[in-house]
Symmetry: C2
Subunit: 378 residues, 2 copies
Amino acid sequence: MSLKFEVANTTEQGGRRGALSLPHGVVQTPVFMPVGTAATVKAVPQDALETLGGRGAEIILANTYHLYLRPGHELIRSLGGVHKFMSWRRPMLTDSGGFQVFSLAKLRKITEDGVEFRSHLDGSKHFFSPEHSMTVQIALGADIMMVFDECVETPASWERTRDSMALTHAWAARSKAYWEAHRHEVPWHEERGGQHQALFGIVQGGMYADLRRESADRLVEMDLPGYAIGGLAVGEPREVTREMIALTLEHLPKDKPRYVMGVGYPDEIEEYARMGVDMMDCVLPTRAGRHGLLFIREDPNDRRSAVVRLNIKKQDNAQDQRPIDEGCKCSVCQRYTRAYLRHLFASGEPLGATLNSIHNLSFYLETMERVRVDLAGA
Amino acid sequence: MSLKFEVANTTEQGGRRGALSLPHGVVQTPVFMPVGTAATVKAVPQDALETLGGRGAEIILANTYHLYLRPGHELIRSLGGVHKFMSWRRPMLTDSGGFQVFSLAKLRKITEDGVEFRSHLDGSKHFFSPEHSMTVQIALGADIMMVFDECVETPASWERTRDSMALTHAWAARSKAYWEAHRHEVPWHEERGGQHQALFGIVQGGMYADLRRESADRLVEMDLPGYAIGGLAVGEPREVTREMIALTLEHLPKDKPRYVMGVGYPDEIEEYARMGVDMMDCVLPTRAGRHGLLFIREDPNDRRSAVVRLNIKKQDNAQDQRPIDEGCKCSVCQRYTRAYLRHLFASGEPLGATLNSIHNLSFYLETMERVRVDLAGA
């Protein structure tokens, strides 16, 4: 078994309290996954990640596109995979590279075979096909890898979205075939007793309910170990995101993990988890932290009160001796004041990004821990 | 008692194994002090500083000039002083601001009274006199503060150096008078049982032996709690630095701490400690770390072998699975490979600066720990 998913309890709303067993450990779900783009969660040391909010991050994400370009997947393979490369012993997930190819890279040329693009780093030419994405992700060796999908621009017409979806389905089938034939090549195959990576499908279909349903149905037929919902949180209103998630979830199997990619604000991840989403990831807590935006509770003593953003740059924090969030138990709130964090930010000191990111990630993990307790039932 | 210095052993060479008791704790000497310019040792969290090399940094330095400009000494005073501001519970030292006024600030106008200068941040006009430096340093509230001195440009003629030295002596007397009259104003005076800060004098005299001797004699007459040797490591050959230190040490009292400011390389701090210097500080370990330069031992299994610099950027580190220094016990060498650190540096990832700085600081503290063991005698 390379992936085992057990649901301990499901609420009336559909929210699930579960546990996802992977080659590098067990992940309590629903889970929020910090993003470690280039095999590092920006500005946060691994030992801090391991203790965030007590339990620490149980799974993190790395970006295939970035690691493929730098330092290169062959180098990471030769060093034993991304876990050893970055000294992260717990589960990891890699995306397919598709999203970054379509959002960061230049001069893309898409054919049925794959995507030709130029690196955003140095303009060099590259080609990603489903098979190549699998090759790269197997070399990286995360516990979970994703099928290579096309990400349609937003907004897109129904016809454009349907055609893109069809390509995504064809690519998913090719991804699966390649994964089945090559998954024993993962760097830790032997040392982990013959285990391999799990491959997740990605439901596309834009903002069209009929296409979302069709995409879910086609992918479920492929019988993959897990399913993601992609192409959301790309600028559409939040109600549309929620609607697309809700209707897609209905078409996904209840005994497999369900992952919504790239969301979101703390109140969103809570909401989607209660609807039955098991996994989410987002750069928001770290990116916002680097920009001095900190998530706090409106009433620090009520951890269910509204999420508020504190802009640490503001002058009124200059003499504020309170922690970021008086009800937060994170290492930053236990030690540092708003006045100090404002000073670090105003002075461009790198420690500011580190401490802000640790708080925001802790806030996300605390939120999910509370949701998990709720979902476990009375 | 606000400063107590006890020498447990002195070697034939003059090296001393001692302990310096200050209001915020005891410092084992000889000691290397990491520099926390803007109330943060760049890119290194306080909890990492506390555990560097086991014992952690027992004393750190902060820069008066930087904190005066941003966030301002009155703000730090209102928050209880720099210890509380940055959440650092152990001893600290502030410089006088003189060195930065003379090296960073623009459009300086020096009179007997003090120095008018423009901020390197925003061009605003400021005036520092000995009395004002004391006011600022008392507001910051480090355990040790420094007299305000003029730093002469290098090279400087004998006459120019003599005149500058005379000004430094006059300013030292004014610094002392102000400190004696106002030292009870330090933010923690009451809560630390009426203790106050210790003021150190600074021996100047450029590269002229007769002036160094005269400067030491004049300052010793002032009977200050400790003495620094300033104006060194400003571009002169290392033999000259060593010679100036050696001859100045002869003229400083043996029962008071002796501090050489702004040095140096790991082999230098070891050498000066063995000559009888008790305290040193330098930005080198952190600055070099941010630039990807790491200090290691030529033979990792022989901690007395030569110091070598490893340039982490180099291609030949790309696949190197060894730690930075195989004989180093620091948290970075216990966990991360050269390959990973090279990747972080090449990708501009902030974690690189943090890990490199932690290693270099650990290397410095390990070096001093070994010297202390040697100096304690058989």
